[in-house]
Symmetry: none
Subunit: 528 residues, 2 copies
């Protein structure tokens, strides 16, 4: 099959995702990563819509990119003026890069209802804008906005907009499913019609509103497009864009299209997590190819299968995309899982040793108290270490007390209360006992603060560790507030993240155990 060029729009369309706001530094780092991943084009931003983007185009000139070309984004000229008088278009030239993508309407109803101009003027807007940018020596791509919807409502006009751009010298016509609702067969049909109507290379840019963005992208490639637009992790407006982290391995591993090298593909998981970090979004655990659960096995039936044949329950070798197979230790797992998991974590335990028997007993007991290790590998790894006679705990929990009080102030109106949360903790480090206390925004926060206060004098580097997530789950709903409680805590030192668990009938005790594990795990990894 033909060559395919990857065009990444994480920095422009991806940044339209709810909750994302990249800094200029983030954008520069991401550009570097995308270059390493093998993207042909990196769309850097829309200087006309975002003042930060002008700064990006200034600074990106200092990056030395091996492969990727930076592209500036804008729209066709406004109606009724000349292209060279349109500030939006002149800004594209001023951005100082060699390629520009402009969005133009590919759908008749969008022209009349939203652009509020005539169908003829829209054709002129497209042709004039392409011609102007070509005259300045740029490579020019047309994003044909709403092309697929336009093709459905008036296919002749939709094709005319492409012909206008082609006639003006556009280098690639990018067909957009802007509203993300097309079905794969609609994509195939319209791409084939576009190929027939114009002799220019075609591209595809689809949104994921129907959950079909990856499939629609692949369908377009099969129908003949050679430029594939998308974003890392599928970030983008509404439900997002086509997820390049799923598109790239599908093209390379399943359709035999060498859009990246083997080495570049093996960095996919790393790039995905890097971008989610920059976006300040939790990486999607269930994301195809790159998610932490993508090659994780929980069902006993599947675990049994993969011990016999590693590929029994995986569609590709996870190494190819830089991910790995994991075993999920769940309440249904036996000795086999636990030994497999220990091996995976690099802790040697022997199947028949007395310590292993005791460990299994302990895990069973803890599971019956509500501990669950699916999502708390760090606590599980601590259990393995604690089972070894040579392990020395960096600290030991002794006592704690928490007081939460709500008093209605006599002077205030109904409904206004004064809240107080305090914790006292007693912790042992070596032979020393530290007894201290702290206030907090709630009982768990007060405990967390008191525990850190106690430990920081011995382990000052613990100040890097932050709590990033806290979850509570009640295990047997039928008994309401008397039930077993499971607390899951996620901690981070800015580089790594790890999860710990605590179980008890008492939510405060469960939190206390999970908090302590979160700190002990970091000390285990970084030296107590």
């Amino acid at each position: 099959m033909a060559m395919v060029e990857l065009y990444d729009t994480t920095l422009r369309d991806g940044a339209q995702s709810e909750g994302i706001s990249f800094s200029v530094v983030d954008k520069l780092h991401i550009t570097q990563k995308l270059d390493e991943l093998g993207a042909s084009y990196v769309e850097g931003g829309w200087p006309g819509s975002n003042p930060k983007d002008a700064e990006f185009f200034e600074k990106v000139k200092d990056l030395s990119l091996k492969h990727a070309r930076v592209v500036v984004f804008g729209s066709t000229r406004r109606r009724g003026i000349k292209a060279e008088e349109d500030k939006n278009l002149t800004m594209l030239v001023e951005a100082g890069v060699k390629a520009a993508t402009i969005v133009g309407k590919g759908s008749a109803p969008q022209v009349t209802r939203v652009l509020k101009t005539t169908l003829e003027e829209n054709l002129a807007m497209i042709a004039d804008s392409v011609k102007y940018l070509k005259s300045k020596g740029l490579t020019v791509f047309l994003d044909s906005e709403h092309f697929f919807d336009g093709y459905k409502s008036d296919h002749q006009y939709a094709l005319k907009t492409l012909e206008a751009a082609a006639g003006a010298g556009a280098d690639c016509l990018v067909l957009c499913d802007t509203n993300g609702g097309a079905l794969p067969e609609e994509i195939t049909r319209a791409v084939k019609a576009a190929a027939k109507a114009t002799g220019v290379p075609l591209g595809i840019h689809v949104h994921n509103d129907g959950g079909l963005a990856v499939a629609n992208t692949l369908a377009a490639v099969r129908a003949g497009v050679t430029q594939v637009q998308g974003t890392i992790n599928g970030y983008g407006e509404r439900c997002g864009n086509a997820n390049l982290c799923a598109v790239i391995p599908a093209l390379k591993l399943k359709m035999g299209i060498d859009c990246v090298t083997d080495e570049q593909l093996a960095r996919l998981t790393e790039v995905s997590r890097f971008v989610s970090e920059a976006a300040n979004l939790v990486p999607g655990p269930f994301d195809p190819y790159v998610g932490t659960s993508a090659f994780s096995h929980k069902a006993g039936y599947h675990l049994d299968g993969i011990t016999k044949w590693p590929d029994a329950y995986q569609h590709i070798d996870p190494d190819k995309v830089g991910n790995r197979q994991r075993t999920v230790v769940s309440d249904q797992s036996g000795k086999r899982n636990i030994i497999a998991k220990a091996k995976e974590l690099g802790v040697d335990i022997e199947a028949d040793a007395r310590e292993t028997q005791e460990l299994l007993q302990r895990i069973k007991l803890l599971e019956s108290r509500g501990f669950q290790y699916d999502n708390a590998e760090a606590s599980f790894e601590l259990l393995l270490h604690r089972a070894r006679p040579e392990y020395r705990q960096p600290f030991e929990l002794v006592d704690f007390m928490v007081v939460v009080e709500s008093r209605r102030r006599p002077s205030t109106r109904k409904g206004e209360e004064e809240m107080l949360s305090e914790a006292m903790v007693k912790v042992k480090v070596g032979k020393e006992v530290i007894h201290t206390a702290a206030e907090g925004d709630g009982p768990v926060n007060a405990l967390d603060r008191a525990l850190r206060k106690a430990l920081l004098q011995y382990y000052p580097s613990l100040s890097q560790v932050k709590l990033t997530d806290y979850k509570v789950r009640i295990l047997e709903e039928s008994t309401g507030t008397e039930s077993q409680v499971r607390v899951l805590i996620e901690s981070s030192d800015g580089v790594d993240e790890w999860r710990t668990v605590g179980g008890s009938t008492n939510i405060i005790e469960a939190s206390w155990l999970a908090l302590a594990d979160g700190l002990e795990y970091w000390l285990l990894k970084h030296g107590g």
Copy 2:
């Protein structure tokens, strides 16, 4: 196009998702919701692999379902024994439901490498197991595991496994892409071959490892399958199953297949959020159709478009799936929503009354503190009543104090502590102030007991009300234990169930508010 039956496996395959562990009560509630959504089949679990599932099949008999049939899941008999001697198969019959799905291998290499038996014996295992279950009067579906991979490696054998089941009387042959790596065109080809080889109705069950599960499901429907398997929110092993929340609207709105009614479709978002709540997973904001961002607009360019034409940047009317259009800058419940909701609950409020204005202000304030009413209608209804001047609260919360203490007993071994949880509460009923205290298994249980103790002398019938579920969600993960906390409580009097919410930065205060609402709501409905 032909009729399509929806087969939901959230409770079995969905529960294989990393981090999901449904209680029996959760499973019963989800079954009810799936029935209301219009699922034809609800796969309840695998009694052979999970002791909790046996309890589910016992209790599900008491639900009165309108439309859905509950299905039990298991596997074909073990090699070398008779079907009637296989405990796994007899358990399916003992589950006491009318339909069973059994998984059998549809791929030659899986038979030899994982099952470690002969290709002939696998055919016998399938045929014998189907025959046995049919002889017990059950409707029998075969999940042909690894069928699509099997079709690629040895298509003749893959089709033979289907013929074995068809010959034994299977009611539907469900073709599985177990490893989730197939491309849509591979699905189409293999489904057509299966249809040609057997005269039995076909089903489709695919995983999302390639990000193509929705597309693959739709491709199978176009190729002729009539049973569609999937899960709510796409939960499931590894990257999940086909997401019914994307498949259902695509079938109905885009392919014209009436698999659910308009009214059922309009509940899709509600069902999605209900299940994510039960799974204790944050609902995916970017999920197609049902995500909170699915119809949210952020780009200025798009916001401008939708003011001119609401459909300019949306592929369907969000009302059709019970979702709504949002602009990302302002994220508050509109007045129209609240009035519609009040009407639905039978509480009359006037759009222009001063009380309504005050109520809107109050809801905004509470939402900013973490309250959310999607899943807590009882608390919402109480808010409406409290806004009416004639409403008299049956009791009023004044003060509380909670102490949780853990002391290591000097006489005991390491790791054994004495836990104490006590609560003091002050409550006003009419002009009386009750000041009392109680112990509990944890701080929330102690509060619950103290509050009941205070109220029971005035409202003895409150003894019927029991807490049945308690959930905690942290709202801004990035700030860890200092974040806003939302507590959701479910109460029951044995006849009805209702949900209440409390929000605070303090987990104890949030619980206190939700507990009190749970009791007040019952008194409102049954006379204080």
